[in-house]
Amino acid sequence: MLLAVFSDIHGNRQAFEACLKAARAKGAERFVMLGDFVGYGADPEWVVDTAMELVTQGAVAVRGNHDQAVNSSSETMNNEAQIAIEWTRGRLDVAQRRFLAELPMLVEDGDRLFVHSEASQPQRWHYIRSTADAAKSLISTPAHVTFCGHIHRPALYSMSVTAKMTGLVPKTDVSVPLLRGRQWLAVLGAVGQPRDGDPSAAFVLFDTVSCQVTYCRAPYDVATAANRIRENGLPHWLADRLSEGR
């Protein structure tokens, strides 16, 4: 089965629509969303409604730190993220907020693990910045492949049976076989706010039979997404950074 995995949609309708369309065109049969449905972008209602709809159809969804911040004021965030989350809170209805509040921190699916930040202490929202961070996450789970996001920059790590690590910045559209006999951590780029210098929306396809992962990019209407942010009085930097992909 071909899984499509999305992370860090961040209320960006245009980006998420483009990714869903691209994933369906490539034959994705099941969807996984790794959290941070909201925050930053100007269409949180549409994104949450779409996620709820996909979950009723069998999609997997886990909670991100921005999703948690909607329902809790104790999450510490930078100033722009804080402004965006307060704005978001006012836009969501009870059902949408409950959907976010009830999302699981992680989901195990066979020998795969889905989590927003990393597997060792998911509630601490640590970033995977290095092979050392990746090792910490991989050691804490028996899963063959862990999928996470949070850092908005794609990376692929592996750990051998002797705990030797490798890291790779995956090349777009090149499938990589995730060999059995070692563990893998697939860190996804963001759908809604890429920060790796490429403004196009990022997602991942995973073939559960051949165990091949493919990092994909979907170009989308950045101008409209950025205008929506400006029109709604959100911090301009949140709009500007979309076209720069950082």
Partner: protein
């Protein structure tokens, strides 16, 4: 899960095991058969049980990732792989014949035989590098030849794929490979420079033409480190009849600094295919190693250590294409030849490691016997070569980036297409004759070339006359 025993008659994923044909340190090779596959097959099984060298497992993992995505005649076709969860194996096409290792007792071989052999290996390497793979274990036992003469590279256990995780990089603190053939930058941990393979091929070329290994047989780290600062004896010091052009090629491959080697395997193959076009430098003349003072300066000056690749493999290769310009120096309009020079100059300006082959076709008569001498008694072939060089002079190209060729053929388009194919040309520049009687009568050479070439073709036209629109008709194919 109990592992199935690998023995004759056993069946693994539909493959019936035949006999064991090779038992090496890292893996065993078995003949296998499979219903529906006619080709002769080999199953490679790693030695991966408890207590075995972990390198055997990691290198087999690399091979399992790389083999299935390689294509073309210069690698064995891969039919399937099985992973370590059950029984690790790779089923590959069995290439008939033996590896180049079997030739070792016959060394040194005649110069021209080695030239042709190594040109074929360089062509195979160019094809591998184009597929984003650096072999990292080029040596006689990793090279075979098909019945049609094409070289096949085998054993990708130490290879690097630019788009895949490099499992070996993490696993070993020391470079892993075959010491006598290992490039100096490998000692510094560099694994992403395709010119490391050109160094290894240079070792092979040296060994096969002199009978001596340029850096000895030493397997110690000290012996390998030495090549970071100590150059080998020039082949001419070992064999007085060693051709200077061949020494130029060998020593260029063996340069300590990768930037001083050939930029691509395709460019090395080009020189080996056209030995008369090899530009001789001080390398060709050398009869002794560098003086000790130079070697010691290298040894104690950290700045001269190879720094490795600065960009990804595909970019490095794309920066060093073989560009060919087809010129009609005899009958071509001067304004068209000028336009060709302007376009060529612009293309080369962005590609400092590109090399340019200027080609002219000396058209032969279909029926009449051709005279090589013209009415004045001068040799047409040589006249054309002189004209090509004259045309290229304003480009001010370094001599080792330029070559000139006169092809004698009945059909110019076919000759150009063959030249492009044989020499792995990346970009062909050709002029289109405007409104000429010959073009209408004979058909357009440039149209046939643009339609049938497998490389990029730029068709150049002379500037429009004053009345016409100002843009020149440059077409990118």
């Amino acid at each position: 899960m109990p592992k199935p025993l690998v023995k004759p008659g056993a069946v693994i994923d539909g493959y019936t095991i035949g006999e064991c044909v090779h038992a090496g340190g890292m893996a065993t090779l078995w003949t296998v058969t499979h219903v529906g596959i006619d080709a002769p097959l080999l199953m490679k099984i790693p030695r991966a049980s408890e207590g075995e060298d972990p390198a055997a497992i990691v290198s087999f993992e690399m091979e399992m990732m790389i083999l299935p995505r390689l294509t073309g005649p210069h690698v064995p076709h891969c039919y399937g792989t099985g992973d370590f969860a059950h029984q690790a194996y790779a089923v590959i096409e069995r290439i008939s014949g033996t590896t180049l290792y079997k030739r070792l007792p016959d060394l040194p071989l005649p110069y021209d035989e080695v030239r042709l052999l190594v040109a074929k290996i360089a062509t195979a390497l160019a094809d591998l590098h184009r597929q984003n793979v650096i072999h990292h274990d080029i040596k006689p036992s990793s090279i075979m030849f098909r019945d049609n003469g094409e070289a096949v590279l085998i054993d990708f256990g130490l290879s690097h794929h630019d788009h895949l995780p490099d499992l070996l990089q993490a696993e070993f603190r020391l470079p892993y490979g075959t010491a006598p053939y290992m490039a100096p930058e490998r000692i510094l941990g560099v694994r992403d420079d395709p010119r490391s393979d050109l160094f290894s091929l240079g070792v092979l070329l040296y060994f096969f033409t002199t009978g001596e290994r340029p850096f000895g047989e030493g397997e110690t780290l000290r012996a390998i480190r030495r090549r970071l600062w100590r150059d080998p004896y020039p082949p001419r010091a070992l064999r007085s009849d060693y051709p200077p052009w061949l020494q130029e090629v060998v020593l260029r491959c063996l340069e300590i600094e990768p930037d001083w080697r050939y930029p691509t395997a395709a460019q090395l193959a080009f020189d080996l295919t056209h030995p008369d076009q090899v530009k001789l430098t001080a390398r060709a003349e050398r009869m002794k190693r560098d003086p000790l003072s130079v070697a010691w300066r290298r040894r104690f000056n950290p700045d001269v250590k190879p720094s490795g690749a600065r960009s990804d493999l595909a970019t490095q290769i794309a920066m060093s294409p073989i560009v060919t310009v087809a010129l009609d120096t005899a009958e071509g309009a001067p304004e068209l030849n000028e336009s060709l020079r302007v376009t060529t100059e612009r293309i080369l300006a962005t590609l400092p490691s590109a090399r340019l082959a200027c080609v002219n076709v000396l058209k032969l008569n279909r029926i009449a016997v051709d005279k090589t001498l013209d009415e004045q008694g001068s040799n047409k072939h040589i006249d054309r070569l002189v004209a090509l060089r004259h045309w290229a002079t304003p480009l001010k190209l370094d001599e080792n980036r330029l070559s000139v060729h006169v092809l004698e053929a009945v059909d110019p388009a076919t000759a150009l297409l063959e030249f492009a194919e044989m020499n792995s040309v990346d970009h062909l520049i050709i002029g289109a004759r405007q409104n000429s009687f010959r073009r209408t009568w004979l058909g357009s050479v440039s149209a046939k070339v643009a339609a049938e070439a497998t490389c990029t073709v730029t068709v150049v036209r002379p500037p429009r006359m004053a009345a016409a629109k100002p843009d020149a008709g440059v077409v990118w194919g």
